[in-house]
Point group: C2
Chain length 406, copies 2
C-alpha cells in the first residue's frame, strides 16, 4: 500500500463531467489499495472570472481581499470532487488550506509555504477517507487566507507530499508530460520520459507551463518524485526525479520561451557603491520579481542598467519607476514589453563547452538579434524581439537535435 498525492489542474476539473472523470481515476487508485490525497485547482476559467470581478471594482484591489476572493475557486472544486467521490461509494472529505494547515508567510497573492502540519490530513486518511485538499491556498500566522500565485496548486501538492512522505506526487494536466519544446510551436518536440529536478527547475522558471517553479524547488529539497501526466489518458508521463535517478544526461534537455518578461533599462546610473541596492531594494519591497540583470562597464562615471521583470508586475514597476530614477540620480527609465526570453536547458552544459556559442550562432543565422544574455550552470537565455519567439524555439530545438530520440 502506497500513499499517492494526485493533483488535478483547472482543465481536469473544468466541468461536472470532468470532475466525475477525476473521481473515477482517484477511485481506481483507491481500489488498488492505496491511500490518496487529492489536490485540486479551481475549475478552468473560474480564477479569471473572480479576478475580473475584483478588478471591475478597483484598478488596484487590496491583495488580501483578492486572495479571499480567488481562494473560493478551489473551495468549490474540492467540495465537488468529494461529492463525486461519495457518489461512487468512495469516502472523501475536503480540507481547505487553513483546515489542512498549510501555513504560509503573509505575502498575499504570492505567499510561500512555511510549514505543513499534516495531523488533520493523517487523521482523515486513518479514518479511511480520500482527502481532497483545496490547492493554491494557505493561511498566514494570523489566520488570513493567502494564495500561492498562479500554478500554486502544484506547490500545494508537493508540499503535502513532502509533509506526508508520499511515495509519489502525480501532477495531472492537459498535456502528456514534459516536452523538449512547446509542441504548438515546434512540431518535432518530443515527450521526455525522465528529467531531473535541476533541468525541470530551469524549464519551469522559463515559462514551460507544466509545473510551477516553486513546486519543483520543493520537490528537489524533499526528494519528492513528481510524475507529470495527462488526466485524459493512461499513458505514462514524465518522471521528475533526482539527478542520479535520471538517465544519462544530455547536453540540452529542452528549449523554452518566456513571453512574460518585460525589459527595464535605467540610463546614466551614477557608478558608485550602493546604487544597485538603491534600485533593487525598492523593487523587492514592491514585490516586483526581477529576473535577468545586466550591467555594462561604466563610462564617464555612469552606467546603464538593464533588467527584466514579469509583465504581471509591470503596474507596480511603473508606479515606482520615476521615484527610483530621481532617488538614485539616473537620467531616465524605459520599459519595453515587446521582448521574449528564449532559453536552452540541460545538465550536460556543465561539462560541454561551446553550447552557448552554438546557441548564439543558430540565432544569428536566422538574423535574430540578441539584446541581453544571462546564463546559469545548466541554462543559457537570450532576450530577443517578441516576434521571433516561435522561430527561435524551432531553430534551437532542431539545431540541438532534440527532435531525435534521446
Amino acid at each position: 500500500m502506497a500513499l499517492y498525492v494526485q493533483k488535478f489542474g483547472g482543465t481536469s476539473v473544468g466541468s461536472i463531467d470532468r470532475i466525475q472523470n477525476v473521481a473515477r481515476r482517484v477511485a481506481k487508485t483507491r481500489e488498488q489499495g492505496h491511500d490518496v490525497i487529492v489536490v485540486v485547482s479551481a475549475m478552468s476559467g473560474e480564477t479569471d472570472r473572480l479576478l475580473g470581478l475584483g478588478r471591475n471594482l478597483s484598478g488596484r484591489p487590496a491583495e488580501r481581499e483578492m486572495d479571499v476572493l480567488v481562494a473560493s475557486g478551489e473551495q468549490v472544486s474540492a467540495a465537488l470532487t468529494c461529492i463525486a467521490l461519495n457518489e461512487m461509494g468512495v469516502k472523501a472529505i475536503s480540507l481547505l488550506g487553513h483546515q489542512a494547515r498549510i501555513e504560509t508567510d503573509n505575502v498575499f497573492t504570492k505567499a510561500r509555504i512555511t510549514r505543513v502540519d499534516d495531523q488533520r490530513v493523517r487523521k482523515a486518511l486513518a479514518d479511511g477517507c480520500v482527502v481532497v485538499v483545496a490547492g493554491f491556498q494557505g493561511m498566514d500566522s494570523e489566520g488570513n487566507i493567502t494564495t500561492l500565485g498562479r500554478g500554486g496548486s502544484d506547490t500545494s501538492a508537493v508540499a503535502i507530499a513532502a509533509a506526508t512522505r508520499a511515495d509519489v506526487c502525480e501532477i495531472y494536466t492537459d498535456v502528456e508530460g514534459v516536452f523538449t519544446a512547446d509542441p504548438n510551436v515546434c512540431p518535432s518536440a518530443r515527450k521526455v520520459d525522465r528529467i531531473c529536478y535541476e533541468e525541470m527547475l530551469e524549464l519551469a522558471a522559463l515559462g514551460a507551463k507544466v509545473l510551477q517553479i516553486r513546486s519543483v524547488e520543493l520537490a528537489m529539497k524533499y526528494a519528492v518524485p513528481i510524475h507529470v501526466r495527462s488526466t485524459f489518458s493512461d499513458a505514462e508521463g514524465t518522471m521528475v526525479t533526482g539527478e542520479d535517478e535520471a538517465l544519462e544526461s544530455v547536453v540540452v534537455a529542452g528549449v523554452t520561451s518566456d513571453k512574460k518578461a518585460a525589459k527595464v533599462t535605467v540610463r546614466n546610473v551614477p557608478d558608485q557603491p550602493g546604487v544597485c541596492a538603491g534600485i533593487f531594494e525598492p523593487l523587492a519591497e514592491a514585490n516586483v520579481t526581477v529576473d535577468m540583470i545586466i550591467q555594462n562597464v561604466a563610462t564617464d562615471g555612469t552606467t546603464d542598467l538593464t533588467f527584466t521583470v514579469s509583465r504581471d508586475d509591470l503596474t507596480r514597476m511603473r508606479d515606482i519607476a520615476d521615484d527610483l530614477v530621481k532617488r538614485i540620480g539616473a537620467s531616465d527609465v524605459t520599459i519595453d514589453d515587446d521582448v521574449v526570453k528564449v532559453s536552452i536547458v540541460g545538465l550536460g552544459m556543465r561539462s560541454h563547452a561551446g553550447v552557448a556559442a552554438k546557441m548564439f550562432r543558430l540565432l544569428a543565422d536566422e538574423g535574430i538579434n540578441i539584446e541581453a544574455i544571462s546564463t546559469s550552470e545548466i541554462k543559457t537565455s537570450c532576450l530577443i524581439r517578441a516576434k521571433y519567439a516561435e522561430l527561435a524555439v524551432r531553430v534551437l530545438h532542431d539545431g540541438f537535435g532534440l527532435g531525435l530520440a534521446r
Copy 2:
C-alpha cells in the same frame, strides 16, 4: 458614535454596480462617525448555481461538502465588498465565518450558532476598519465549515450585533420593510412602522420571507433592535423591537401564507403510549422539521395522525416513511404537497376573543375548506388547498381591516 451592523441580502450585492451601491451606503454611515460591521449574503443566484453543481453530481450530496461548496458564495461577496470600500477610501477587512469565530453546532446545511467570539471583530474595528463578515456560515468545534440554512445571513448579522452589543442591526433587503401581507398578493397591504419580536417571529415562521426566524428569536433573546429597510431607498423601514417599545398592539398585525408545507397523514396508528415518540423521534434524527401536529380521538384502538413538514425535507421524509409505518404498526402513510398554510398573527389575539372564529367565517364565506388548524397565543393557522392561497390572504387581510392605517 454608534456601532451599526448592516446586513445586505443577495439582491443587494447581486452585481458589481450594486456592490458599489452597498459600499456607498456603508461609507456614508462611516462618514457620520459610526463603526460599521457589514454582513453580506452571496450574490443573488450564486447559492442556487452552487447547489445545482453539487446536485448534478449526486442525488444526495454529502451535506458537509455542500456547506463547503455554498459557503464560497458569501466569501466572494465579502471580498468584493471590501474591495469596493477600499476603492472609496474606506479601510475594510473581510472575515469569513471561521475567522469571525462564529461557532456553530455540527448540523450541516442548517447549523445553529452556539457562540460568537467577537475578539477578532473588535480588533479590526479598533484598527479603524469596516469589518465585512461573510454571512450564512460558521465553524463547528472541529473546524468544519457549516452553513446556517436559507436566510442564515440574517442570523449571522443579529448574532454579531448581539455579541458586539451593536446599537442597531439594519437588515437591508429588496422590500421597504415588513408588510401586513405580501403586496404581490394583496394590493391593499401596508408597510408596518413598528412590530414586536413576537409578532415578527410568527410572521417569519410563517413564510414572510423578510427575516429568517432564528434571527428574530436571537434578536428577542438579546434585545437587539432590528431595522428592516430597503437597499434601494433612504426611506425608514420597519423597526422590530420589544413589545413595550412597540405601539399599541392591534388584534391582527399581519396575514401570511406558507407554501413550503406538505401534509403527512399516518393512518390507523395504534393508540398506545410511546407511539407518538416512535413517529417523531426518527423524523428528528433524519433532520425533518415538523410543524403542525394534529391527532384525532381514537376509534377502535387506532387513530389518524396528521402533521406538516417542510417541502425541503420531503425526500428525507419519503425515505423513512415506509419503515416508520411498519415499525409503529400503522396501516399506511400519505404525503400531500398540494396544501398551503395561511395564518393571521397579532399580539392582540391574547386578549380579544373570537378572532379565530372570525377567520374561519371569512374563509368559509369564500367556500374555502379548512383541512387542519393550529394555534398559538398570537397566531391562528389553517391548512387549505394550495390553489386558494392568494384568495385567502386577501380575504383575511381586508376582513381584519389591515388595509386601513393602523
